[in-house]
Symmetry: C2
Subunit: 283 residues, 2 copies
């Protein structure tokens, strides 16, 4: 492993570089980003060694794509066209069906691996990157039967050395489940923040009355719209379905409340308390 | 301050006792609870010194009511009837209009202070109590013009010594604002947990795909149904209103998504990012 290229030097790309440099201490890391400011910052923070561009990709042993998902989907063909035949290309986006479909008939399809690390924070940009972000987190790899087995093995070794827990899934199932387990959480949080801010024009009421519970439920409303708008677009059908079920449950809860069905409300909350066991399993 | 009675020895009552014992090291703390098991635990954990009952309240210098809000509303008249004329009675429930209305014409109304500490965790019971829960948290005091000024001053001294930040509000405004800033968060979290658990019958999909974001947004779904069902009942009108606005925002978001209005979705998320500044103000 001599030359690694990272496209998108933000939270994910930057944190990946920090961990991979530990695995391959002599590797040279080249950064590509539409923001020259972010590239300069990434050099300053030692996330990358050099600024670079797509036309130099033929030198790459490994290409990491950690851009917003729409950008990844747009550049993946160019990336595959530019790499040499032994390169491994991995993308780290939160939706997988679309990009897997884009590359499906490319002659270098076997050089590509679709991944989604279940890791991140509500912060973004190279400044948000840190070593250890991926430690003990899940790494989902999709449609791995379409990736060259030797290149796949290289990727698996890297992720295991980063102490990640690898899971395998087809890209279609990935997008369906992730809509519920991740994308819906973000929307519920954004809309909760909006509802409260619309109502409480006087911010002092929020400052005075909000506790750690409010903080926890709206934390994801800090997330980057640049990252999330393309996710909404590329996983639209699944997200609409999950939103419809969430809204149905909320409407049902509201109707029970309006009709004084407190016993049934209590039963619903008691059954949902089972989430304690599920959250324990996350650790 | 010789004798303090705490009614309801759970997270709030138990944590209050720990802090107040530090302020008055010689005080005797008497606990009252419908659960004898909780009382025994509270003695064992040194939250209280003695088990007691409502008919001994005449000895109390201070009575702390930290039961579910429906219980507080039911027992407050008995409590006021049983105390001596110099006692201070404080309740710590999350809804205030109802209990203030219950005591409004009582001859000992001036012995009563309506409070709501913006503090808590998703855990409950005496085992969940800890010293420092209230440190640097907001304490909302309602309708204080109806409390005897000397007794109010005693309460203020206690809360300031506990490093709490006191705010004043009428009980009606309290219930209206708290529906948005606290109660709605709990419902959004319970229904998010329900939606995901209904969908993901195979828990492994949640274990594998859920990250810290999901954990944060469903944390409140661990909350106690025994505590929350009466809150829903006593603040029904305000909660229904907040739920309707939340559901309207979610429906609007879904419609924008279905109609490919990604620019407007991005604008909404960008505006909601302003929550960053509000959350900073909480610290």
């Amino acid at each position: 492993m001599n030359n690694i290229f990272v496209i998108g030097v933000g939270l994910i790309g930057g944190s990946l570089c920090l961990d991979i440099k530990k695995i391959y201490p002599k590797v040279k890391v080249y950064g590509i980003d539409t923001s020259n400011e972010n590239l300069d910052m990434a050099v300053k923070l030692n996330l990358i060694d050099y600024k670079s561009s797509l036309d130099v990709l033929y030198k790459a042993d490994l290409v990491l794509i950690s851009t917003p998902v729409d950008v990844a989907n747009k550049i993946i063909i160019d990336v595959l066209n530019n790499i040499n035949s032994k390169s491994l290309v991995i993308d780290f986006g939160s939706t997988k069906t679309n990009i897997c479909s884009t590359v499906d008939n490319h002659k270098k399809r076997r050089n590509y691996l679709a991944s989604h690390p279940i890791a991140g924070t509500e912060f973004s940009g190279p400044n948000a990157a840190f070593s250890g972000l991926f430690n003990n987190k899940t790494m989902i790899l999709c449609d791995t039967e379409k990736t060259d087995p030797n290149l796949l093995a290289t990727a698996e070794t890297i992720f295991r050395t980063m102490d990640m827990n690898i899971r395998y899934m087809d890209s279609f199932s990935h997008d369906k489940h992730i809509a519920y387990v991740s994308h819906l959480s973000h929307i519920s949080s954004f809309m909760l923040g909006k509802t409260v801010m619309d109502k409480e024009k006087n911010e002092n009421n929020i400052f005075d009355m909000a506790g750690s519970g409010f903080e926890s439920t709206v934390r994801l409303a800090k997330s980057s719209p640049e990252m999330w708008t393309p996710i909404l677009e590329l996983n639209k059908e699944n997200i609409v379905e999950s939103l419809e079920e969430y809204i149905m449950n909320l409407n049902n809860f509201k109707n029970l409340l309006q009709n004084d069905k407190f016993g049934e409300l209590k039963n619903q909350m008691t059954r949902t308390n089972y989430i304690k066991n599920i959250l324990k399993g996350l650790r």
